[in-house]
């Protein structure tokens, strides 16, 4: 199901080994500036980094079908991204030998053997490129109304970044390849990733996203709560196995009197909350605090280490040795993806809420 959203609909298409992957955005109001540099920047954030990632070089040339004179024009906008560096032969032998941790096995059953297994087909991480392109398109539109989405790596395996951070640090999150805020954490994480890589293995981690500048009352009761919309989109991303808002699972250890974010009147006369245990959301609606969520990124499925699998044609047990290029750690690449997830979800919520007032609508 490749359509998502209420007022802004995104539609994902293409596959890992097609000529293109792409995304269509339907429902963007006319009059927003189309910032191609921002799209390129986000796609670049997502590109693999030489030391820690696969050697596949994805240049991500993109082409925009839509807009007029540099602005959105009320018509749908499609971004096509060329798939360049495709080596289908790497995957040929995998067809009947499903890779553990991948969609290979259930997809084969679901689609009765017709699925495009090359590079994981439509289940490939490559499908996140158009999502990031959309995120890059929307980021300056949101920034223009004072909303910013910042993601960052908070842990790689057991190594954690410091919990304290400043806004200035968030702004510089892309300055290192691990998208981590403290240099101490950076070094330990890099060391760990390289060690894991040497073992032919992979490692996971946690990515945190902070959304600032939201109006109070964003989100819809029940089935399109802020948490529902963000989580539905976040779990579309391959490798995400958990999401929590505010204190999340740790919050189950607190008492209500500790968890409740109490209200008070600022000197300025504004209503504020004394804490942010609920991650900026009450009853599915934004409460004026930054929205904070974390996602659990499982260790990369494709690993060079030999693994048990079956040959689905011969119906025999097999040992699988995956060749080709693989990432020992995709966690840093999830950072621009989660930022894009946030940008897309928030734009849809804004267009659904108080439409004309904040962001404009046709």
């Amino acid at each position: 199901m490749n359509v998502f959203g209420n007022s802004l609909k995104i539609i994902l298409f293409g596959k890992s080994h097609e000529k293109y992957v792409g995304i269509t955005l339907d429902g963007l109001p006319a009059g927003f500036k189309i910032d191609e540099e921002s799209i390129a920047k986000y796609l670049n954030y997502r590109r693999p980094k030489p030391i820690i990632n696969t050697s596949r070089v994805e240049e991500d040339e993109f082409e925009i079908i839509g807009g007029f004179n540099g602005f959105t024009d009320g018509a749908p906008l499609t971004i096509l991204i060329k798939n360049k560096d495709v080596k289908s032969s790497d995957y040929d032998e995998l067809f009947l030998k499903p890779r553990p941790g991948h969609a290979d096995y259930p997809a084969y059953i679901k689609y009765k053997g017709f699925n495009d297994y090359r590079g994981g087909g439509q289940f490939s991480g490559r499908m996140t490129a158009p999502i990031v392109a959309a995120g890059g398109l929307l980021a300056p539109i949101l920034e223009n109304v004072g909303i910013r989405c910042y993601s960052r790596v908070v842990s790689i395996g057991e190594i954690k970044d410091s919990e304290e951070y400043t806004l200035e640090q968030l702004e510089r999150r892309y300055e290192n390849d691990l998208r981590v805020l403290s240099s101490g954490a950076y070094e330990k994480m890099m060391e760990k990733i390289l060690a894991v890589r040497r073992e032919g293995d992979s490692i996971g981690g946690v990515v945190e996203t902070v959304i600032s500048g939201l109006p109070v009352g964003l989100g819809e009761p029940f089935f399109y709560s802020l948490e529902s919309g963000i989580s539905a989109l976040a779990f579309s991303i391959p490798g995400i196995k958990g999401i929590e808002f505010g204190d999340g699972f740790q919050g189950t250890l607190l008492r209500g009197s500790e968890f409740n974010d109490q209200l008070y009147l600022e000197n300025s006369g504004k209503i504020k909350l004394k804490s942010n245990h609920s991650g900026g959301i009450n009853g599915g609606l934004s409460n004026g605090n930054p929205v904070v969520f974390r996602v659990a990124v499982r260790p990369t499925s494709s690993i060079p280490k030999p693994q048990n699998t079956v040959n689905m044609k011969e119906m025999s047990n097999e040992i699988l040795r995956i060749k080709g290029r693989h990432d020992p750690c995709i966690v840093p690449r999830v950072v621009p993806i989660m930022e894009s997830v946030a940008n897309i979800a928030i734009t849809d919520f804004l267009l659904t809420f108080n439409g004309g007032e904040l962001i404009g609508k046709n």
Copy 2:
């Protein structure tokens, strides 16, 4: 946004202090037996238990508008549940003094003061009664095709149930009021809840759900992955702040070689997985293992302890003392709710996938 689902749509209506809360199911195929006893049973599971919960007695009389001769008939089916024991006056003074942790403040801003604040209005936990009624309706329909959803409490605050369990224990999950499997955990949890209650405070916990019997390949790529659909519905439930599938956040500490669920051929000739770190889901599709997910339930928002808030009319700081009946711990009540969430989501996935084959479709 009170409509959810693709092939099966559920629509939630009513409010805490209306005459009814209700739910409409649209898209149920004709020919399913309507088991009113199962609905009553689920509603009873959700009722507050004398010691640990509020004294509000919700008898949950319900009325079905739909079906014919005891079977679904292709038309929508609506369940009306009477709201009986309503004391609006308890809430009157709260209108302009938002309760910390509740939707009161963002709802007031969003709806410009027109929102029904009585008992939390549409943001009330009362809205989960129709969801549980729908869960009770669907449970025997799923059971009929071999699918079972079991939820249970795995922790209250820092007290955990044993991680090992048998299917037989799951079947008996409603035999104690805490919906916990080991009697050791039961006693410690009950003690903790009573202590918290004496302090005028509240406590959270974690509820786990296991779904057995799913066909391989259930779920849709990307935006309607099993995780996306289940999480969107789970986060509709008041008080849920996190969800994880399989190893979830703990899984970020593993290596890929540990996390990957390797495949092998059973003696019977069936393809099986050696472990279940991914919680029965790869690439958004069921892989034949039980689907396992856990949700974080925040400590109940409404507590007798005095809290800081503001008077939104006077724009002054206030101390709030919430009167009336309140639950020190809603975690056990979340058990039938999460089972219902699973029942609803899985039915929708089944009707979307291979429609006619497994569950039938008109």
Copy 3:
């Protein structure tokens, strides 16, 4: 499929011989006055009229679940309408002998015999009562922003009302039971209906709807054009077999130079159109003219005259004599229904277009 709409969703439930028929409106902004008198008035417009219609007396007591202090509150609003005067026995023998012109035969096949055949079940004209209730709720909300939907009978069989009319005549459209503007047409039509009735037969006609006061640019390109939205809803109504906008089928006889509505500048400085052949819509968007559409209402299916049918159990040919009360002409009753269709569709378009500006949105 009982859910319709984009920003405003309506959900229809109940059946002809259930305790209730009902409708839920989800997505209405908070702050609209709930005018119960208007709902009652519309339901009354829809009631059968003594001479021309069946003797079934439907009092249409309704109950509103939703709203707060007389205003919409952002939560869904449900209207329950009691089904009173139900004689199921009239229909019992029809179950296996499908009535020509009704859904009986395809519904039996589709639902494998599980469908509720009593009174046509969910295919009954009775399901239009909640649609009219919703129309009555929305009419004053639209009127408040200057939008009015007027329907009227333009023909019964071959008898036509005059084509010229004044706004004042439209305002008085409910003053006679045939909802026709000229008294000459009224008399001829009534005579015709009574003659048809005496023959045990039925007759159809055409209903025209005029929507005034729309902003320019309402409607969405392509799949939610004004025509698409209105026609999808209009064809939900039992008995509607055609719809045309502006000159419609007659317009195919004109030249482009005659059909095109040319633009000019009024003395006031406003852009106006010289004619209204396109029925107020260009490219799916409103152009400032009144939107005008006509629907073809087939002659009522249920007639006392004997008809050929089959006994689906015995698989034998049969002669069917339908007993009970039947309308020789439902065309006048379609008038408030089409007005309600227009009210619902236009409210949804308004909430989708420039949301905050015209009608407000939460």
Copy 4:
């Protein structure tokens, strides 16, 4: 709103003067053969014919992103169609002088001047090319389960084709450029079109579609009745101003006893209907008869004759003389478009109804 459908979603993108127009199909089951020749054939049917149409030569090179080894694979399938012969300068002067009968004026207001006016932008008839490509893709898939959609011209202006026809004639409908069945009508229509062309004017007509081979019970009650789904899609097509099913508007002149399609048992033991006044649909569901509908195609908006309009910048009255290439009659080109509308709508209905049984579903 460029997304349509329930189980099969189509998404339209691009504009008249972009590099591409395109369509994405999401929800096609895996395992259908992708017949590129059929797509090419349909696109060719839609191409303008030398004598009667504009001289714009649209070669309609297309590219498929999707499928695997020549079959659908469960992933979305996108068709890109190159826009070649684009002369934007023709349209430059029209920007502030809206063409009567076009979306120019309401689109300018709706999109606050940001809309892409070149060639009508997203309101262009060019957008029907991807719809026809989708129709061409689906035609053989439907044919494979015995379903055929045939459209033909039944009238141009006041000139009508004969009402009687054979299946064999329908099969040969594309053998003449007017897509008319009788050679007598062909000559008169061609003469009329050429006469209208000489006058610098245009002419409309009526296109009829017959769908054979549908299972009984296709369609959904109320809001997704066969009529609702087909009409919503048909009215997306520029220039369509009316639709009627079966006897439609003429049927309002009949008595119920004439209009009702009575049932009988064929010698073969099958249930049949004696007539087809209701166009194969009762209560929104197919009844086993061919589904028959007609659409009214307004005379082409763009005509060389001078017309009144306004200059929206200067706010002055103007005389407009549209240059460039224009069709005096688009009715024959609507034939493959309506066939495609039928193919798309019927595929979606089939995937929604009894999914697995007839057409298969993943």
